[in-house]
Symmetry: D2
C-alpha cells in the first residue's frame, strides 16, 4: 500500500471571497453564502450564510449532523420555539442531529450564521420524498 499524505491545512480570510446568491430553488428572500471548505473523503462541508430579514430555507433534511454558530440576528429552526423548534438570538450555537427535518428555517431579522455539515442536505417535497441531494460536491459547484 502506498503511503498517503496528510491532508493540507486551509485558511480563508472571509472578507476576501465573494457573497453569492444561494439557489432560489432551495431558499427564499435573498439568502447569500460563502462556501468555505469541502471535505471530499468524509463528505463534509462548511459555509457561512447571510440571511436578510424575512428570508428562509426550503424544507430539507439533514442526513448527518450539522453544527452552527449564529453570529448575527435571529434564527427560527424547526418552526421556531412556538412550534416546538428553537428560536435563537446571536451569539448562539446549535446542533442539528442526523435526520433532523427542517420544514422551515426562518430569519425574522438580518442574520448571519456559520455552519459545518457532515453529509448532504436533502431538500424534500411536501410528502418527504427527495427533491435534491446537496452534497459537498454540489455545494462546491454551486459556489464556484
Amino acid at each position: 500500500m502506498a503511503l498517503k499524505d496528510k491532508v493540507h491545512e486551509e485558511a480563508v480570510q472571509i472578507n476576501e471571497i465573494p457573497w453569492k446568491a444561494f439557489p432560489d430553488a432551495l431558499s427564499k428572500g435573498g439568502i447569500r453564502w460563502k462556501m468555505l471548505h469541502a471535505s471530499p473523503e468524509m463528505g463534509a462541508w462548511a459555509a457561512i450564510f447571510d440571511c436578510p430579514a424575512g428570508s428562509s430555507f426550503n424544507p430539507h433534511q439533514h442526513v448527518g449532523p450539522g453544527e452552527y454558530l449564529l453570529t448575527k440576528g435571529r434564527m427560527d429552526v424547526r418552526g421556531g420555539k412556538d412550534a416546538g423548534g428553537d428560536s435563537l438570538t446571536a451569539p448562539a450555537y446549535g446542533y442539528e442531529s442526523a435526520n433532523a427535518r427542517h420544514d422551515q428555517t426562518y430569519f425574522p431579522v438580518d442574520s448571519e450564521f456559520y455552519m459545518t455539515f457532515l453529509g448532504p442536505l436533502v431538500f424534500i417535497h411536501a410528502d418527504g420524498s427527495p427533491l435534491a441531494v446537496v452534497t459537498w460536491d454540489e455545494a462546491q459547484r454551486a459556489y464556484a
Copy 2:
C-alpha cells in the same frame, strides 16, 4: 451542560439473527441481509449481505464513504473490471468513496459481503435524480 455518557458497546452473534429479504425496489435476484448496527449520531450503519448468483443492487450513489469485506464469492462493482470498475474475488476489501456512483453492483456467483456505511445510500433514477434516500433509520426500520 449535563455530562453525556459514553455510547454502549455492542456484540452480535451473526447466526442468531435472521436473514431478511432486501427490498425488491432496490435490488434484483433475491438479495438477503442482516442489519448489524446503526449509529444515529454519525448517520452510519453496518450490515451483511447474502447475494445469490445473478443478483444485483439497483443504481445508487454513496454520499459518504463505505467499506466492505467480501467474505464469499465475487463482486463486480461500478460495472466490473471490463467497464472500468472493480471485479473482486473473496477474500477482498474495498473502499467506496463519498459520491461514488454505482450503476450496477453484480454478483456472478453466490456471494456474501459485510459493509460499513457513513451516511445514506441514495438510490437514483436513470438521470441521476434521487429515488429514495436510505439512511441508518430507513435501514433499521426495513430490517426490523
Copy 3:
C-alpha cells in the same frame, strides 16, 4: 435489533453559560472557554475560546480534523505566517487537518474563536510523545 432514536437537537444561548479558565497545563496567558457540545458516538466536540493578547496553546496534535471560525482578533497557527504556518485576522475560517501538529498557537491581540473537533487533541512533549489525550469526555469534565 431494537430501533434506535434520532439524537436530540441542541441550542445554546452562548451568553447564558459561563466562561471558565482553560487548564493551565495546556495553555498560557489566561485563555477561557465555553464548551458548547459533545458528540459521544463520533468522539467530536465544539467550544468557543476567549484568548487575551499574548496567550497561547501548548504544543498539541489534532488526531482528527478541526475547523474554526475566528470571530475576533488575530491567530497565528503552526508558528504563524513567518514560520510557514498561517496568520489570520477575523473574520476568518481555518481547517486543521488530521495529524496537524501545532507547536504554537498564539494570539497577539485579544481574540475569540469557535472550533469544532473530530477526535481528541493530543497535547505532546517536546519530543512528540503524548502528554495528555483530551477527548470529548475529558473536555466536558474539564468544563463541568
Copy 4:
C-alpha cells in the same frame, strides 16, 4: 475555492498482500496483520488481524468508534464475558464505542478479525496515561 476531486475507490485482493508482525510493544503471542486502508482526512483506517491461540493486544483505548467482523475463532473483549465484557465466536460483529477502554483483548483459539477504526488507538500505561497514539499514519508506516 478550487474544486476538489472525489476520493478514489480502492480494491484489495487480501491474499495478494503480506501478513506482517504486529508490533511486539503493543501485543503478545504473535499477532500478524494486513493494513487495508487509510483515510487521511477523517483519520480512519481498516485492517485485518491474524491472532494465534493465546495471543492478545496490550491495554488500549479507542478514541473513536471501531467496528469489527470476527471471521474465525473466538475473541474476548474488555476481559471477556466473565469479567463483564464480551466473548464472541465467529461469525460475529462488534461495535466498540468511542472511549472504550480495552484492558485485555484475548484470543483463546486461532482467530481472525477485520476492523474499521475512526480515529487512533491510544495504547496506555497501567494508570491510564498515554504510551503511544496509533493513528492511521503510524499504522500505515508500521505496515509499510
